[in-house]
Amino acid sequence: MTAPARTRKAPPPGMVERRGAGLWLTHAGLILGVAFIFFPIWLAFVASTVSQPEIVRPPMPLLPGDQFFENYRKALVSGINAPVALMLLNSGVMAIGIAVGKIIISLLSAFAIVYFRFPFRRVFFWLIFLTLMLPVEVRIVPTYEVVAGFGMLNSYSGLILPLIASATATFLFRQFFMTVPDELAEAARVDGARPMQFFRDILLPMSRTNIAALFVILFIYGWNQYLWPLLITTDPSMNTIVMGIKQMFPSGDDIADWPVIMATSILAMLPPVVVVIGMQRLFIRGLVESEK
């Protein structure tokens, strides 16, 4: 559509009007960018729908083949070391466990820090804050010792618990709780709410946008964990999908089953996408509904 030649009124203040060449140019730029980012994913998808000989024979195919169902069935049901369906389940349990656990723990600790006056409150706050400086990779050896000592290798609790404390989320909820007017807590006190009732009935519903946003971030964080599951799951049936992909690479003279590996990669990408799209609605609705 070309912009009709008309005497244009001054646009209302605060609105940017863009028509004509500029519009096409920006779109062309964006499309190019998307294509650039999307191309490798497209290649992976194509590779997951063709047969092994087609991949290794140059030139690489650029259009999907007819092996889609065959490859994905093979990946999901048998995989290479473990069925991908099982790895997806493991990753799902781990990611949801980490996200939910982190949210619960950080909500409660932020609640304690903001609303209660207890001895060494500041010390505890700074201790939590300090853990920001100690990501999993830094403390991985002692953490492994502890988890092994508790006999939690090759278990969901071993996958989830060491990653469950979150200074970032605690800090985020603390900042949010501090913006909640004191009068709200006082009104609840006058209404007779005990602290946990206030937390459940008032703070929790008010934090739902923050919770949704954090869930998305933490789910992806949990889903993408690589090093930790690689260390503590020696049993292929406990493998998570992100590390599982690496495990599928052949060692020595074996031939890599690229179509199945690519199908696994595509499958590994889907749950985070679903979570982002699913939560996005909640998250935007929450933003629109949020208080002034």
């Binding site: 007017p181 009068e183 709200l184 006082e186 009104a187 609840a188 006190r189 006058v190 209404d191 007779g192 709410a193 009732q197 009935d201 008032i202 519903p205 008010m206 208080e291 002034k292």
Partner: protein, 333 residues
């Protein structure tokens, strides 16, 4: 319905004492307004009655029972906050019903009480809405409704009208007064606005720097202020103060209300002043003048009276009975 008694109530934050011993006796069903400038401790006093602040020393009694160590919910009070403090994610109905739900009131009774309160406050069409979908005045009503449904013995208001515009404030003021009369509940109301204090109060408490300077019916306080602070704070425009030596009197300060001064030709009356400015307000005119000593005086005269020109010399007269004399400690002599 209950009496409220404060006996030598004191409050310190750390080492700073902010309330220096306040005694107030509130009768059942009485409307008491605590008025004072910001920082005088009036809100702190109210919050101590509510149980939101601890009482450092002294005693708070509600209905004859000592409540110093009781939680707010066990004091049989309800409070209306300055910013309304409505729960943003709850509907108007749920906002009003929350306290009752916690008290495990039967569902049918909650329904009935909220409906009654909503009818009283003309909130019936809004029960399903969220607070952000309401205007300031409606939010204010919901906050009142939340207080009413609990059928408390004492209403506490913490500057409930200061977030409303001037017109709405006058309207809500009348509604609060009417409501308190209809329900017959004892009310304690904090404001910095002396007009609110004068119009609402059965008796008012004028607070100054953590002390109750004077407690009495609004017109008594106006006519007979006990301290220089009260004379200056209550009344708009405020009382004129001048050095008694200028007119041949004793005491440290002499106070005369603007409406008690009359303007005459230069040389007449008790003292001569120069006109700085005149503010005609329609029904009345405020004339600002300066004495040779530098003191500023305001005279309030009828709107129909002739207005002296700027820079004119005028004579000021007043009755001896209207003079208020204050000692060096600020107390009336």
């Amino acid at each position: 319905m209950a009496t409220v008694t404060l006996t030598d109530v004191r409050k310190s934050f750390g080492k700073t004492q902010v309330i220096h011993g306040v005694d107030i006796d509130i009768a059942d069903g009485e409307f008491i307004v605590i008025v004072g400038p910001s920082g005088c401790g009036k809100s702190t006093l109210l919050r101590m009655v509510a149980g939101l602040e601890t009482v450092t020393a002294g005693e708070v009694r509600i209905g004859g029972e000592r409540v110093n160590d009781r939680e707010p919910m066990d004091r049989d009070i309800a409070m209306v906050f300055q910013n309304y403090a409505l729960y943003p994610h709850m509907s108007v109905f749920d906002n009003m019903a929350y306290g009752l739900k916690i008290a495990k009131t039967p569902r049918a009774e909650i329904e009935a009480r909220v409906q009654t309160a909503a009818r009283l406050l003309q909130l019936e069409p809004y029960l399903g809405r969220k607070p952000r979908e309401l205007s300031g005045g409606q939010r204010q009503r919901v906050a009142m409704g939340r207080a009413i449904v609990r059928k408390p013995a004492v209403f506490l208001f913490d500057e409930p009208l200061s977030n409303l515009d001037a017109k709405l404030r006058v309207q809500m003021r009348l509604e609060i007064k009417q409501l308190q009369r209809d329900l017959g509940v004892t009310a304690l109301y904090v404001t910095h606005d002396q007009v609110e204090a004068m119009t609402l109060a059965d008796r008012m408490v004028v607070m100054n720097a953590g002390r109750a300077d004077q407690i009495g019916a609004p017109l008594d306080v106006y006519a007979d202020p006990r301290t220089e602070f009260v004379a200056g704070f209550i009344g708009s425009p405020p009382t004129n103060f001048l050095d008694p030596a200028a007119v041949g009197g004793q005491g440290a300060r002499l106070g005369i209300r603007p409406e008690h001064m009359r303007i005459g030709p230069a040389g007449s009356g008790r003292i001569t002043a120069r006109v700085l400015d005149a503010e005609p307000l329609g029904a009345e005119t405020l004339i600002h003048t300066r004495l040779p000593s530098g003191d500023l005086l305001t005279i309030r005269q009828d709107g129909a009276a002739p207005i002296p020109g700027e820079g004119d010399e005028i004579g000021l007269a007043w009755e001896a009975a209207d003079e208020m004399r204050f000692g060096p400690d600020g107390r009336r002599v």
